[in-house]
């Protein structure tokens, strides 16, 4: 019975089921572990169709992780879903400023969302290089603006905001970035779906790949 499987057996069996149900697919051997973990965490096969990787995104993500670049998330949920032991193995710090009192006060004064200002504030620290957005389109729009207008150069963007107002549009804006900024790798999806759990799963998949490449 399933409850008597060990956690690693449950995961392996889940991956076998996903492989079987997806069947033939266009993902590269580097991309598939990332797509598969997004499906695993959501039980949503839409991700087998909708994920998008910029050129060499996985290899460049692995490089950013091995360089120990700091991770910024737009929600505390996404940060708490990323494996702390795996981050520690690479000496990677994580930060989410959305609940920071100063960010909250300043955002209200400026009339912008806390998510937007949290992203702007975190991007000002050059140690932060990996930007993970699982919830707020305003955070992703702001990150794109910082790239286009203020010279911010992320080492990786995981852009998976979710929702009905702006989420799909923010991801289209991210896709459009590649033409002018081909040096900035990103992993995203098309459409409204996404979320903190999926964003964290993508990062965890990349952390696992980075660990495998090292061993």
């Amino acid at each position: 019975m399933s409850v008597h499987l060990r956690p690693e057996e449950i995961e392996a069996e889940s991956f076998r089921m996903i492989d079987a149900e997806v069947g033939p697919h266009p993902w590269s051997p580097a991309q598939w572990p990332v797509v598969r973990r997004a499906i695993h965490t959501s039980a949503d096969f839409d991700y087998a169709r909708t994920m998008v990787f910029s050129r060499d995104a996985v290899a460049r993500a692995v490089a950013a992780i091995r360089a120990g670049r700091g991770i910024v998330t737009d929600t505390t949920m996404a940060l708490s879903g990323i494996s702390r032991p795996r981050l520690d193995a690479f000496g990677i710090g994580g930060v989410c400023l959305v609940a920071d009192p100063l960010v909250a006060r300043t955002a209200q004064k400026l009339g912008v969302t806390r998510s937007l200002l949290a992203m702007r504030t975190a991007a000002a620290n050059p140690e932060n290089g990996i930007f993970v957005i699982g919830n707020a389109p305003t955070a992703l729009f702001e990150l794109i603006r910082l790239i286009r207008e203020e010279g911010v150069r992320p080492a990786l963007i995981v852009g998976l905001p979710v929702g009905f107002v702006g989420a799909a549009e923010s991801k289209e804006a991210l896709l459009a970035l590649e033409r002018n900024f081909p040096e900035i790798p990103f992993i995203t999806n098309r459409g409204r779906k996404g979320g903190s759990t999926v964003a964290a799963a993508v990062v965890n998949a990349l952390l696992i790949l980075a660990g495998e490449e090292m061993s």
Copy 2:
């Protein structure tokens, strides 16, 4: 442009879009805010078909919240997704023991998942009454066993584990509980989908309803 909407305007517009796309539905006025927030957080309209409420679940959930019963979650993600100010307004404490070192050590010794033992440990504290499971089928199976075999009587179960091995089955086992334990309210869904973000959204919807009923 969407980025210039205030957060409360973004939410209201999202709810209007969900109402319009779902159209006529079978949910009661008490249930719909809960279903709608699950859709809102996932952008997944499956929840408009798959959610299940035990008899009077929302009214009884509101009563459990107003009684200040402690919340137990199976993941730190779910706990961090539940509004801390709204919990504080009702004097509700929240706990997730899955990362507790003693739970981890003991689970390994017993050959069970950490999620299972975290649930068993938290259920031993009678102040805990609201059980929120957004990830681990083993946690929900264990809670059902504690009810059937050890006299645990939750004030509310939010049972939304996700995945390919055991998730759908654990929710069927929860549904089957109603025949023998009609006094235990639950909110769940059918199938593989679920997750920490959806579980947290359901709890947040209930906290908002509990606040409205008080005012």
